[in-house]
């Protein structure tokens, strides 16, 4: 056994020197099973075509026989109609021949029909043959390339166009710009928002998606990012499967996923219409949105207009469940270690959405959602976040590449937070209500150009906790790439922007944020340029 590594090493040396000539056969042997399978497939296809050909030929023969017979009849009839080439004899027996003429026409029609039928068949057969030949051509390509001499310096090709069972896409999203506030992270709280003056790598998103088998589809979104210190980190944003063929209009989604709460929460940065998150999403759901491992059931109502009910059950802990068991200090309470004791300690998110086709060109969607779960300020303190959302879209009946269009999207959310008592700071049980909203309009005024405007509002957290919250926020930021909502103040933000899409695979966006931090009596201005590229095939987006 000891000698095996040595042997392998020798082999590698050999391979490195002149593997292509000496070990070429070995390479083929490695792929022989695959190769055989392919050859079998090819053989199968060939026999199939052969069978089809025979079938076709036999039918063709039959047809030809029929035609021959018909032609014979026709010849006989013509003979009968005009027994001799002498035309003058014809009028002699008009009455007798008249019936025959009808018969003749009948036969001619039959013949015509048969010919047409044959023609159609030929068409069909040719089309099929063409298809099969294409198949063969496609299959033959593999055996040709399989025995190709592989060398360790060549990249390994795992898939090629059309033959992989997975769509792979890679999205790079960057921004560059500046703000009047030198602490950019206190203004932009989102995990994928610009995080400093200068350049920010907002995300590198790898999406893998495809059909698992006839019963499931799978999706995974893996993110790479750089924090403001230049440290790389990896984030599993989503990985889940959805059922394809459950009865009774049901669908199950299971894995780890962004919760279907409102419209914005379940979207990914690359499909956002602005370079940053809405303030209210950031305040209630934290830097990365509400997401956790869990399962979601949905039911499509058998109604005329679209109505869908969702219920998601997810873990209620971690930084991606910000207002719940996030282990972050909230409202001056230090977070407590909490465990899951019963089903009530999970995070539940029901949602209902319905859509109306107002006209051929206009669609309106209305939805309402709520999230229930425990928070970590005490033994049995709960949080409820509820929201309503609206989306309206107009798209021209004669749209070219999807332009022109106008969309209007609004979400209003509220949070009821039960804070437990804490003796250390002398805090008693309390309930805090907060709310916030955003409304945005996007206008695709010209092919490839979209102008947008968004208004944001969040109310202020209880005055006494704002400073604490902010301080703690700053402490947290050290060594932590997720910069939470650093400001607890009441805030109004207005963001106009303009986006140019060279194609649907790239975009350049310029955005200005007018930030009025009412609670702190200051106004900040930020301008950022965003650019994006998308490689590979990326799945379609939800309406």
């Amino acid at each position: 056994m000891k000698y095996i590594p040595f042997f392998v090493f020798i082999c590698l040396l050999f391979a490195g020197n002149h593997m292509s000539s000496v070990f070429a056969e070995n390479d083929v042997r490695m792929n022989k099973d695959d190769f055989n399978a392919l050859m079998n497939q090819l053989q199968g296809m060939k026999t199939l075509i052969e069978e089809m050909k025979q079938d076709y030929n036999s039918r063709l023969d039959k047809m030809q026989e029929k035609i021959a017979a018909l032609e014979k009849e026709k010849a006989q009839l013509t003979e009968k109609i005009s027994p001799s080439p002498n035309v003058s004899e014809k009028p002699k027996s008009i009455k007798g021949e008249y019936v025959k003429k009808e018969e003749f026409e009948e036969v001619m029609k039959q013949l015509h029909d048969t010919e047409k039928h044959l023609e159609d068949m030929e068409l069909r057969y040719n089309a099929r043959e063409e298809e099969e030949q294409d198949n063969i051509a496609a299959t033959q390509f593999i055996p040709d390339s399989a025995p190709e001499k592989w060398s360790p310096t060549q990249p390994i090709t795992l898939w090629s166009a059309g033959r992989n069972y997975m769509d792979i896409s890679f999205d790079g999203l960057f921004s560059a710009g500046a703000s009047t506030d030198e602490d950019v992270q206190s203004l932009f709280g989102g995990g994928h928002d610009p995080n400093q003056r200068g350049f920010t790598l907002q995300q590198l998103e790898t999406t893998l998606e495809g059909t698992v088998d006839p019963y499931f589809r799978g999706v995974a979104n893996i993110l790479f990012q750089l924090d403001d210190e230049g440290e790389s980190f990896l984030e599993v944003e989503e990985a889940y499967l959805t059922s394809l063929s459950l009865p009774l209009n049901l669908q199950v989604k299971a894995g780890t996923f962004l919760t279907e709460f409102g419209r914005f929460n379940e979207t990914h940065p690359h499909s956002w219409d602005f370079i940053d998150q809405p303030l209210v999403n950031n305040r209630f759901f934290g830097a990365d949105g509400l997401r956790n491992p869990g399962a979601r059931f949905s039911w499509l109502a058998p109604t005329e207009n679209y109505t869908e009910l969702f219920i998601a059950v997810q873990d209620s802990q971690g930084e991606t469940a910000h207002s719940f068991r996030s282990h972050e200090d909230m409202f001056g309470r230090e977070s407590m270690e909490t465990d899951v004791h019963n089903l009530g300690d999970m995070l539940y998110t029901p949602r209902v959405v319905t859509a109306f086709e107002l006209t051929d060109e206009q669609t309106l969607m209305l939805g309402s959602s709520a999230s229930f779960g425990p928070n970590s300020t005490g033994g049995d303190q709960d949080t409820i976040i509820y929201g309503i959302d609206m989306f309206w879209k107009w798209k021209s009946k004669t749209a070219e590449a999807g332009f022109p269009f106008v969309t209007w999207q609004t979400e209003v959310m509220g949070r009821r937070f039960e804070a437990g008592e804490e003796e250390e700071h002398g805090l008693s049980n309390d309930v805090f209500h907060n709310w916030g909203a955003y409304s945005q309009i996007n206008w695709g005024f010209k092919k490839r150009w979209v102008a947008g405007f968004r208004a944001d509002y969040v109310d202020g957290l209880e005055e006494v906790f704002v400073e604490e919250h902010e301080e703690e926020g700053h402490e947290e930021e050290e060594g932590n790439h997720h910069h939470g909502d650093g400001l607890g103040f009441e805030r109004v933000r207005l963001s106009p922007n303009i986006t140019f899409f060279p194609t649907e695979f790239s975009k350049i966006r310029l955005q200005y944020n007018y930030d009025n931090i009412l609670g702190d009596d200051r106004t900040e201005h930020s301008v950022f340029l965003q650019f994006e590229f998308l490689l590979g095939s990326h799945g379609a987006h939800k309406f």
């Binding site: 068409l123 166009a161 394809l244 679209y306 669609t363 070219e400």
Partner: protein, 322 residues
């Protein structure tokens, strides 16, 4: 608890009733585009209810994945797709959410119309790159503009309807026969009227007219788009104008949803005429069924070309005099 149980039983009954009702009536056909819908209509007639997802007037590459389409697909008995990645940007998400196992690929309720079509313009593997624009790696998906391809698709729709609804098979067959008879007759008419214009050089906006041009022997020498999906650029148009003048191209065909500024610009520089044609039945009023749609396109081309041929002759004699 009893009430809840009773209620849930009621709900369950209602659902099954609804499901049963949806089965009882006509065969519910949903197609991705209006051209296939028109064919399904020809064959199914009053035994089917046909809905097209994409409107005939809009760009079939870019359709919104509206939630109402999920409902339509949910209730479909037969779903027919153009294929060749024409609908890749909007259809998969609809089908995935429709939760209708009848219409998933491999089932009798799913029909991929492109099978059996002799696909053209399949890019070479080396050129299957987005550098070439928004290309279709499996070939040109606008095959329905060739009436003979329409015949192939109609054949397959007829076969499939027979499979799903064998009771009415004879009905579908006779509709199909009637349709092909009319099509054959029309086809020879079309070929006759276009015969004098064989080999006429034309320019189109998008690579949508290849199948049509092949069938009727028109010669497409270029597109206004420098690459599929990329809007016309000044340098490309300049180049195109030069080529059109050089080769004497007098006809620019554009689809009805395209912008008309760049075609008009090129027309002004070359003396060519811009012809706006629908690429789907119903794209322009009065072209709702498949044959009248092809008929419309051919009549428009013929009347324009015969108007031009007078000029062309005049120009030719002018050149001869020189």
């Amino acid at each position: 608890m009893k009430i809840i149980r009773r209620l849930s039983a009621c709900v369950f009954l209602c659902i099954t009733c609804l499901a049963a009702v949806s089965y009882a009536g006509k065969i519910n056909i949903v197609t991705s585009t209006a051209d296939i819908a028109a064919l399904a209509e020809e064959i199914g007639k009053d035994k089917v209810k046909v809905t097209s997802i994409a409107k005939p007037t809009e760009d079939p590459h870019f359709v919104d994945a509206k939630p109402s389409f999920i409902v339509k697909l949910n209730k479909a008995d037969l779903f027919i797709e153009t294929g060749l990645e024409l609908e890749i940007g909007w259809l998969p998400i609809l089908v995935n959410n429709a939760r209708n196992s009848k219409i998933l690929p491999g089932k009798s309720g799913y029909l991929l119309a492109s099978i059996g079509i002799q696909v053209i313009e399949v890019p070479a593997p080396e050129l299957t790159d987005r550098l070439m624009g928004d290309i279709h790696p499996f070939g040109n998906p606008h095959y329905m503009l060739d009436p003979l391809n329409g015949k192939i698709v109609a054949t397959r729709i007829c076969e499939r309807l027979c499979q799903i609804d064998p009771e009415n098979c004879d009905y579908y067959r006779s509709n199909f026969d009637g349709f092909t008879e009319r099509l054959n007759q029309k086809l020879s008419e079309w070929q006759n009227v276009l015969l004098p214009f064989q080999g006429t050089k034309i320019v189109t906006y998008h690579k949508a007219w290849g199948y049509f041009a092949n069938r009727f022997q028109l010669n497409i020498i270029g597109e206004l788009e420098p690459k599929p999906g990329i809007p016309p650029s000044p340098s490309h148009l300049k180049d195109l104008v030069w080529r059109m003048n050089n080769e004497g191209v007098k006809l620019i065909i554009i689809s009805s949803f395209r912008e008309q500024r760049s075609p008009e610009f090129v027309a002004a520089k070359t003396g060519a005429k811009v012809l706006v044609l629908p690429i789907m039945p119903g794209g322009i009023k009065g072209t709702e069924d498949y044959l009248s749609f092809i008929d419309y396109n051919i009549n428009e081309i013929v009347s324009l070309l015969s108007g031009l041929s007078g000029n062309a002759k005049f120009q030719k004699t002018g050149a001869d005099v020189k």
